[in-house]
Symmetry: C2
Subunit: 418 residues, 2 copies
């Protein structure tokens, strides 16, 4: 079977200048990968007609599918439509169906159409219009024999709706696609090179059509096993066998598989044990509660949180003893312990977890440098505490403290017999 | 003056498969832009030796500076070092200084060096080693006449330290750079095309060396004015004059300039008015507190938060009347009002803000669909309320609700005479 290759082109000076982060191409990659299309290259180029035409030409010479985002807005710096009109030699013409789409969006929101909006209904004569239900710039499908170029707006919500509803189904119909299977093992609390040492013998003995990758980030490493084959069943079977060999070697570090996040894993544990949880946060400032509540259905086990940013709140709302604060300071094992016990009692939950630390950039001392974080968990008859020394900037420390706190809950619950 | 162009190459199948989000290239773009280097293209390619060599060759033919990240890890899927060794015909050799760097990192953390780590000290003979203080893979600088290729690890923290400490200073010394000035106006609460209509006359009359771009996202639009010139002073003067013309037209939507975020703008307002704030959050689940506390020094005005996820917490901790919940439901103007008043009283702050809504994916009804959010602000003698109907998925609704709540604070304080 011939492999189908795709290129992704994102257009916009704002990407090259670094003024916005391109999240579109990651999402598009994931969707293409799922249907067995291999992304060959992604590139980001500037809003210049000649540059756009050259990039499309270059991609079309090697890739089967070329997906383009950006530069379709209503303003003067958006040149993609004009460039494609020139490249494919299809003059811009008013597309009646596109005009109706734009009008219907304005009617829905009760606003009036202006001239700039109306211009969005002009499309290269010969391309297929793709309806954009969430915005005023239509997508465009250019068929060149067996190859295809698709242009979509850069607004993520609009691009995603167009991809899901129109582009992906159409691509699936157009090609006979190979079978690609990914299995991702999610680990936490162990570095890439240690993981690699533990599983080295297994890794070198993998058959050639199965490949392993290490994807590190935020004190986690994703282990991704990728297989290419003829039938899904055979590949799945073979890969499951390999997973069964490697998992026992690294069990204590594994919190889940695939797209699961540590907060999902914690949620599953809490649900299976019928436990409720509340957080009392100082340095994490609500981010731990946010991670927990980002999971749909988290209200089943997450009751609430007190962000006790000021010491007054620690004493008045969660009953930390003022003497404890005075003797040990807000960032201490003792204060964390009392916060965890206090929130558990106040919120009448099974588990109280507390964070207190110095996120930075200021507030550190020689004894307690920036990045010092205490986490305490009150559960059963015990309080478990742990100190972390985090290496990052303010936002990164807040994130790492929250991730470590979540992993601490996971470990505490996994080790308990209840 | 000759412009200096850079290409950025990110290497890794994990980027093409969409398994990780490339944030490195945005950060690198920003730093290059600041010193007047124009990023010509960014591209992401796979971990294959031939592909890497072709990409470097292609970039070197057009760009002056080629920055590469990724594929330098200690594991078998990392091929960048080998590919560069072949491309530049510089065999890998043990670099004594690199070995010492790796050893010192292990001594610091009290761990033992293994063989895989030791291999990281082998470098192409003829490149300059760049010290990586935060990890075990050194950076590499390849000088080719006036052109340069730099390879760095893909771990963001490591890449950033290497860029800041070594690569950027070295690049600045190597080239005579043009002057580029950006001025960014941050707006909120108005769409791109309406903004464009308001400022159209000003925009078309801009001199040729000043360019305007619209960068939309999260109910905000950044207006970026970019100027290229000979001296910074002249350019700054000219651009300030243009800014003075456009700002009065869009004043009510402007919350700041440059890299400021809405939470920074709110923080500045609170500080200037010597006011304190607390949040009571239901649907935003701590994310509003997180946005507020992501600002360094926020403890000056942010006192704390109650995440009242369960109704029990709304009544027991912030004194919402159970009858209000029963009569109007948790997602209502009345409940939001009592939450805002309750948190203000409980936390003894000047401003109490509350959010309650349905983030999704479940929990919506015909009367109150997913995305319905009430925000209330208790300030002075009044309670201000606003209803939002948000269009997104769970996480996006949480973010939009928080951004809108922050803007609501900004507007309330800007309009008040206190």
């Amino acid at each position: 079977m011939k492999e189908v290759f795709a290129d992704i082109i994102t257009i916009g000076d704002e990407i090259l200048y670094g003024q916005i982060l391109d999240t579109n191409s990651q999402w598009m990659s994931q969707r293409l990968d799922e249907i067995g299309i291999k992304v060959r290259r992604k590139f980001s180029i500037s809003d210049q007609s000649e540059v756009i035409k050259t990039a499309v030409d270059e991609s079309l010479s090697k890739a089967d599918v070329v997906l383009i985002t950006g530069g379709l807005g209503p303003t003067k710096d958006d040149l993609t439509k004009q460039a494609l009109s020139e490249y494919f030699q299809m003059p811009l013409e008013l597309n009646q169906s596109a005009l109706e789409d734009v009008e219907s969006i304005f009617i829905k929101s009760g606003r009036e159409l202006n001239d700039i909006n109306r211009q969005q209904a002009f499309l290269p004569n010969g391309c297929q219009k793709i309806t954009n239900e969430r915005g005023t710039a239509p997508g465009m499908w250019f068929q060149m024999g067996k190859k295809v170029v698709v242009a979509m707006p850069g607004v993520p919500m609009e691009m995603k709706a167009i991809m899901t509803k129109s582009v992906l189904p159409k691509i699936k119909k157009s090609y006979r696609l190979p079978v690609i299977v990914h299995k991702v093992i999610r680990t936490i609390g162990i570095g890439e090179s240690w993981l690699s040492e533990i599983i080295e013998k297994w890794e070198v003995n993998l058959p050639k059509h199965l490949a392993l990758a290490y994807l590190p980030g935020n004190w986690q490493v994703r282990l991704r096993l990728t297989g290419v084959g003829d039938t899904k069943e055979q590949l799945e079977h073979e890969m499951d066998q390999e997973m069964a060999k490697v998992l026992p070697l690294i069990q204590e570090y594994v919190f889940g598989f695939g797209e699961i996040e540590i907060e999902d894993a914690v949620g599953e544990l809490l649900k299976s044990k019928h436990l409720t949880l509340a957080t009392c946060e100082s340095c994490t400032g609500g981010f731990l509660a946010h991670r927990l509540t980002s999971v749909p259905g988290s209200s089943e086990y997450f009751i609430g949180s007190v962000v006790a940013y000021h010491n007054d709140i620690k004493t008045s709302l969660v009953d930390v003893n003022p003497k404890t604060l005075e003797a040990y300071g807000a960032v201490s094992e003792q204060t964390a312990t009392e916060m965890a016990e206090g929130i558990r009692k106040k919120f009448k939950v099974d588990i109280g977890i507390a964070t207190t630390g110095i996120a930075g950039p200021d507030g550190g001392s020689e004894e307690k440098p920036v990045g010092t974080v205490w986490v305490a968990i009150s559960y059963g008859k015990e309080v478990f505490t742990r100190k972390f020394q985090l290496p990052g900037t303010r936002l990164y420390n807040i994130e790492l403290a929250s991730v470590n706190a979540l992993n601490f809950i996971r470990q505490t619950l996994s080790n308990s017999k209840n």
